[in-house]
């Protein structure tokens, strides 16, 4: 059936499949603004004075950890709107996620905002997953402005994945500390000092590690895979990035990542940073291997990474949030902990104009 129109005009190309799994946008998507809200412990950490808001009450004025997390998500979104002077109705789509079962922190947090929602689960990599999809949506011309929000809460995560908080136990040194906080981001076609020219969504990599209290080891192979693929697809070398920043591998995962890549002849020791390591002071805060959670990479991106890209101190960064895809059921049934990592390229954009 020709439909009577004859030759259909070919739609303008907006992005290019690059290499095996990367995408290069014809017009880079702009990251317009970011907001971060974090808990007391995070506020006492090295990034403490960089967050937009630090709250003392872990319940954030609510009755439960879950409600608190929802409220933090909403507050982060409202903060980012306030910063740009935009209204909810100007946001076409929202990409959100958290760690709780069935994404209740997101659902209940954003339900009153009235923004069409894509609820995403990528464990602690959700921030990367959401940024990839949000950028693709803008680049594809399906929206002019989209928002991304991800969060985690130590209380809710601990209760769901491990023990009630009042239970006394010693955490192994490989364990990470779930970050309490939320980060929100606004993406659009133009007007940002930071832009997203390329993304590399990652695949699941499972080396069969079963220790849920050593998530860095579970996720390091996935991070290595995504970083390697990004470099290969975009024909880049590690030096082409000012920083390569993983989500929450922690000290144990960082070491493993560097060695996994070194085996393949990729040295990123100079460039590598990890949000989980940056967010807490290991010595003073007794957080063992570092921070983790959807909130960890999100608040670190908003509070630490983006400002340095805006100022031009860093020109190009590879942001790689990492996730451990387990549930209490899969754990109890003896399954391994598969990892995933999504890479987002972030560049300094002097003029704020489209190039």
């Amino acid at each position: 059936m020709e439909g009577g129109t004859g030759k259909v005009e070919e739609k303008k190309k907006q992005a290019e499949m690059t290499g095996k799994q990367s995408i290069r946008f014809d017009e880079a998507v702009h990251l317009l603004c970011a907001a971060s809200i974090a808990g007391k412990k995070e506020g006492e950490g090295p990034l403490g004075d960089r967050f937009d808001q630090v709250f003392e009450d872990p319940f954030f004025g609510k009755a439960t950890w879950e409600e608190a997390e929802s409220a933090i998500q909403r507050a982060a979104l409202e903060k980012v709107l306030e910063k740009t002077g935009m209204q909810e109705k100007e946001i076409r789509f929202l990409f959100g996620g958290d760690l709780l079962g069935q994404l209740i922190a997101t659902s209940f947090g954003v339900k009153e905002l009235g923004i069409p929602l894509f609820g995403l689960y990528g464990a602690c990599s959700t921030c990367g997953e959401a940024l990839c999809l949000a950028a693709m949506t803008v680049a594809g011309g399906f929206a002019d402005h989209v928002a991304v929000v991800t969060s985690s809460h130590f209380g809710g995560a601990e209760k769901q994945f491990r023990f009630p908080l009042e239970y006394g136990n010693q955490r192994p040194l490989s364990a990470t500390w779930t970050v309490t906080g939320a980060g929100a981001f606004l993406l659009g076609k133009r007007g940002g000092k930071v832009r997203i020219p390329e993304v590399t969504p990652g695949k699941i990599v499972d080396y069969g590690v079963k220790d849920s209290l050593n998530m860095g080891a579970c996720m390091a192979p996935a991070a290595a895979d995504t970083i390697e693929q990004n470099l290969k697809d975009l024909k880049r070398k590690p030096e082409d990035y000012d920083r390569i920043i993983t989500g929450d591998l922690g000290y144990v995962g960082k070491r493993l990542l560097l060695e996994l890549l070194e085996e393949k002849g990729i040295r990123i020791k100079e460039q590598h940073m990890d949000c989980g390591i940056e967010i807490f002071d290991q010595e003073k805060q007794d957080t063992h291997s570092g921070g983790s959670g959807c909130g960890c990479s999100a608040v670190t991106l908003a509070a630490l990474i983006l400002p340095k890209l805006v100022s031009g101190e860093w020109k190009r960064v590879l942001f790689v949030p990492t996730g451990a895809l387990l549930s209490t059921v899969s754990y109890n049934e003896g399954q391994s902990v598969p990892g995933i990592a999504h890479a987002v390229v972030l560049e300094h954009n002097e003029t704020g104009l489209q190039q």
Binding site: K40, K41, P58, W65, F154, G155, E158, P164, L165, E166, N169, Q170, D211
Partner: protein
């Protein structure tokens, strides 16, 4: 002397279990189950009562002692009531500990709110 024996025997049991916690992937819940079951077996083998006579609370307070109490309760009830004792002795002997834990914990849930770990 009683106090010293209670201290070092109880302490030693805990220190040995620490090896289990640190060098295996056993979660605390499993370790507790293991201790109670082992205590019942040690009681059955006639080892635990002499230890208790020697160390007092040092053997009675650890969960091994809880397992031993369960077994001794059943044994006593079997002696007195025969077969039915198998079904009454365990809970009878451990009633104070279990009831106290449940009742005080329930009351605590009415009084205390969840708190953040520091």
């Amino acid at each position: 002397m009683e106090y010293i024996h209670a201290f070092w025997v109880g302490g030693l049991i805990c220190a040995l279990v620490q090896i289990l916690l640190d060098r295996t992937k056993l979660m605390p819940g499993r370790v507790m189950v293991l201790l109670v079951c082992s205590g019942a077996v040690l009681g059955f083998l006639g080892i635990y009562e002499p230890l208790k006579a020697f160390a007092g609370a040092g053997a009675g307070v650890p969960l091994l002692g809880f397992g031993n109490t369960l077994y001794q309760g059943i044994r006593k009830a079997v002696d007195e009531e025969g077969f039915l004792g198998l079904f009454t002795g365990g809970f009878t002997a451990s009633a104070a500990g279990i009831s106290a834990a449940l009742i005080f914990s329930y009351l605590a849930s009415l009084v205390f709110q969840p708190k953040m770990k520091e």
